[in-house]
Amino acid sequence: MDILRIATAGSVDDGKSTLIGRLLYETNSITKDKIEALESASKRKRLDFLDLSLLTDGLIAEREQGITIDVAHIYFSTPTRKYIIADTPGHVEYTRNMVTGASNAKVSLILVDARQGVVEQTARHLSIAALLRIPKVIICVNKMDLVQYDEAKFEAIKESLRSLVAQTTFVGQEISFLPISSLFGQNITQAADKMPWYQGNTLLGELEAFEFAESLAHAPARFPVQWVIRPKTEEYHDYRGYAGKISSGTFQVGDVIKALPTGQESTIASIEKFGEQLERAEAGDSVVITLTTDVDISRGNSLVLASDTQAPQLKDFAAHICWLDHQALSPGKTYLLQHGVNLTKAKISQITERLDVVAQTSSQDVDSMKLNEIGGIQLRTAQPIMADVYAENPSNGAFILIDEFSNSTVGVGFVK
């Protein structure tokens, strides 16, 4: 059983709460007492249907109490998959939260109101999905019930998004359009009997059919070392194991590897997990790797295949950046850069551009980056980082910037 992470974003009235509520309801993820509570609440509001938006309304209540909800996590599962929705409510710190919520997602769910069509947030959402190389975008044209389930209306919205999608999308990104009604359960997990003209998948059908694990396993092999295990017990006297989570690609026993940044070579003697000996391990697996020879490897080093001549070591490089902090980015200031588990000092030598993700334009005359802004920078690091170009290998191409004094995470970068 695998896990599929989905990012959703939007304001309360675009029907997102109802959509999420509907997904939970139709996958049997809601307990009976909650449904009973919904029924009585819906009755109190004199509605003749079940108001599923109330399920995520705890979040709205919290916001009224003045607590900022930046990313909320919602869980449901089917017999084949566990789904995690990272939901970012649409308010002030929109871009920051959307980027944060989407950083782990493999699917971006974008809602468009069938009556309103494309709005500014639609463009922002599409741009961020592209910047983060989210492999699948599902654009749900919601509230079809309010436009009499009119096919022409759906096609018109699709058409109006065509040029925007063409501008933002990248090769390999899957984009699908779905006409839905969250309120009446049309095309969420059940086929839409009100829209016989639509022959495609339901929303859940799209999610269940989406395959994503393959691409990660075929990316270049990268193993960042988190922790060195040296039990020093009688049984494991000379044992030295490198513990970490494979960030991309596949490793096998017998592979000749090199440790970066030193470049020392060795051969994988074993791949272990809690005493179990594995022949191979792939992206996402937390394992322990032992080598046939003694090599000086510590936390923050990376193991890659020795034959991989492209394995990067960056000290002076360009990146996209999204600024996450109230205190603006200042060029020349020293930050801590964390790439995976590797930490080094970094200086931003130049801000090269600021992007307007809605208008799809950029300006070059920039001397600072404020909260929620996205742009391009040039950086120098004290020690090399073993990061790939983000667009080519997203699971090894991002980093965060940390303010040395406040210890806050102030920016997220994507190696260009």
């Binding site: 998959r81 039990p231 996402g284 965060i400 940390i402």
Partner: protein, 306 residues
Amino acid sequence: MTNSTIKDKIGQFPRKLEDESIYIMREVAAQFERPALLFSGGKDSITLVRLAQKAFFPGKIPFPLVHIDTGHNFPETIEFRDWLAKETGAELIVRYVQDSIDQGKAKEETGKYASRNVLQTVTLLDTIEEFKFDACIGGARRDEEKARAKERIFSVRDDFGQWDAKRQRPELFDMLNGRIAVGENVRVFPISNWTELDVWNYIKEEKMEIPSIYFSHQRQVIERDGMLWADSEYLNKEADEIPFEATVRFRTVGDMTCTAAVESDAVEIDIIIEEILSAEISERGARIDDKRSEAAMEKRKQQGYF
């Protein structure tokens, strides 16, 4: 696409969850000088111990298990705790709420509903100070309640153990920023993304031992507010609350004074999982109890509990 049924969800543990949690355990050991694992004896903290074992095997767990003993625990829980510490070779630190009471730092509650749940926080914060723990690993999950849904995996607490929702750091990808100032500490939640069902399915797949009170047994109970409470010397009974024997088990493991039992014949884990899944649909009584204790826990969290 047909709807999934309850039976479909039994015994399906998403293995990647374990990989993610092991990664978090290793980050704790690497980023902090004096981490600790807060151990309650319940299924979630037992799961944490297993994950910590796996993260550092064949090495030992590089941090102690810390148990804040209220003095009102089920004897079975204490027995299990000591067995698990021995079995894993982990260091076990126990601190007692009774000591905090004796020192005048905490005051025993009175009345029918008296419990030591709230008092635990005092002892916990003292323990953190005594050992200068900079990271405390807890078994909270985001699916437990709405307020948890937004909490980070690395959650920074101030000098007084307080949680400030507005000061939370964004967590991007799997990168965890554990940098803190002197006096601050971090609560770490490695099973944030697990649901209750994930935990049970994991316990099943891993064939893990759990305290015997999770399984059906005979016990003296009293009925109060439509629920069954274990009779013990710690429970303040009213005159008309007369103990009787029942076949019960516990869904959560807390203090004897605030954990209600459910009537159950479940003697093996499959039946427990099935019972939990169907309980979500029919056993309203037990769920109301869950809700009540969760709400209480949320208040404790703001005051410094995990």
